[in-house]
Subunit: 300 residues, 2 copies
């Protein structure tokens, strides 16, 4: 299971108590931060997201509403006594900015910050439970999307059943993988009798900021949850395109063509106080759409 | 009259709904922003401070809790359509940071940003109503204090009285300055009959971050209002000194020795949830002390 908590759902300017972009993806083991607009550390306090659980931060691009809160978060992590390493995935020049800001302050982070410049599409992080891939999206400057792909979960062993059939614990690894057990007298004990299925692995794709671009379809095909920017309502489609952004209808069209299961709309322009029309417009194309609202946790 | 609105009163880490340093000084004509910690633009929205009225921003030093909100404010001002020029007074290297962040975003401010590097103590801004001076304070890195000094206000002309004595309007400029009027037959009409006094000019000094340093006394002598950092309670005096900060008692001692009229304490460490003891300690040395509380406007 993946849980996505929205910390900021607005585009460039904060307005109507909406904040610049940031969200946290959590699995059972850790938290991942995607983008870090100004004030993200305050939103994390507000929504009780522990920064110590975040070991990987992904920055889509270097427009300020996606990263101006990063340097504050990094230094606060240090002041809070963080010792364990942190991994940052971002356009390469961000390292220069961070180093410059630390240098002028005479500051030193008390933990290791591993900087991973985004250069090629593909897997950028792999651990036991999850893979994260990056892919390019089309915006006014270099910009990346991210795809979180849970690994296939092992089947859960039912200990009482294994005792009943006298299965040796040395076989448990193969049981996890779904193998049947064959006794000395060639009786087959079906795996289904000894284990139970667990939740299938989930996928989550993050796309902001981007113009409507059908090359994206293959990159996010069939994901369980797609977060896609919808900066404007469709009446402003030309403005959206000229600024390399999308409308609600375009985000929904992308979700439909990519065959995703659910769509989460965000990155709303500060020209809109009410967001209701974003949902109405998007649902007319792709029904399973929700608005990304700050403080709300969406699970998949 | 000067009005000082506190936007952030905490030191390094945001905590207990207190935010990093920022405050606005207002006179009848315009607003001046001093320091700009992360989230300052959100606090300005919250407290209805119009960014369009701010024409001068002063940054004391380049520890993040005093300027990480600046780049967001500058770019938001542009996105909100600002056209009139803005003046920024700060340590020189800040210009490199701002230019770098604008460049990587492919961004261009639609207004002129005049950068004034702080180099020597003395007047850095002078207009019809006010002077602003900068002076050095002792911190771990280059750090500046600021002194706002209202100009002497012109006496107010009482129009009905000038009609009664038949004073020509061509003499009004000299009346403003306090001159008596001498009639053709050498009768002296005393200025006091024709004008009234207005409020005397006020002074406000801003000192953060600084170690306790008696060299400061002469620089802030007799000001009407002193904002002085008090990061720690006095039990942590050694820690304060080692980090080039002050305690409540030290700030109050400074206020007393400099003969200021009123003291405003701020820049509280996030280790303190309650601030009551700061006031109690400071008042034991200098009675006319207040805590700088966010959202509160202090007039002088």
């Amino acid at each position: 299971m993946l849980a996505i908590t929205i910390l900021g759902n607005n585009s460039a300017i904060p307005a109507f108590n909406r904040h610049p972009t940031a969200q946290v993806v959590q699995n059972a083991e850790q938290s991942f931060l995607i983008d870090c607009g100004e004030g993200t550390q305050m939103r994390m306090i507000q929504y009780k997201i522990r920064s110590s659980k975040i070991n990987h931060i992904f920055i889509s691009h270097l427009h300020g509403d996606h990263y101006f809160g990063l340097i504050g978060l990094l230094t606060s992590m240090g002041l809070l006594g963080r010792k364990h390493e942190l991994h940052l995935y971002a356009p390469e020049i961000l390292k220069t900015i961070i180093d410059l800001q630390l240098n002028v302050a005479g500051a030193h982070l008390p933990y290791e910050l591993h900087f991973h410049p985004l250069k090629n599409e593909g897997v950028i992080l792999e651990d036991k439970k999850i893979n994260v891939e990056c892919f390019t999206v089309q915006h006014r400057i270099e910009c990346w999307g991210f795809l979180f792909r849970e690994k296939k979960n092992l089947r859960k062993i039912e200990i009482e059943e294994t005792k009943k059939y006298n299965i040796p614990s040395s076989f448990f690894g193969r049981l996890h993988m779904g193998e049947d057990f064959i006794t000395e007298n060639n009786t087959i004990i079906k795996n289904e009798l000894l284990t139970s299925a667990v939740a299938p692995p989930k996928t989550f794709a993050y796309c902001t900021d981007t113009v409507y671009d059908e090359e994206l379809i293959e990159k996010i095909k069939n994901v369980d949850l797609l977060y896609h920017e919808a900066t404007y309502l469709h009446a402003l489609q030309q403005k959206a395109a000229s600024r390399f952004h999308c409308t609600s209808i375009e985000a929904a069209t992308m979700a439909k063509k990519a065959g995703v299961k659910k769509l989460l709309l965000g990155h709303f322009s500060s020209m809109y106080e009410s967001l209701d029309d974003f949902k109405t417009e998007a649902c007319s194309v792709f029904e399973n759409t929700e608005l990304a609202l700050e403080g709300i946790c969406y699970t998949v």
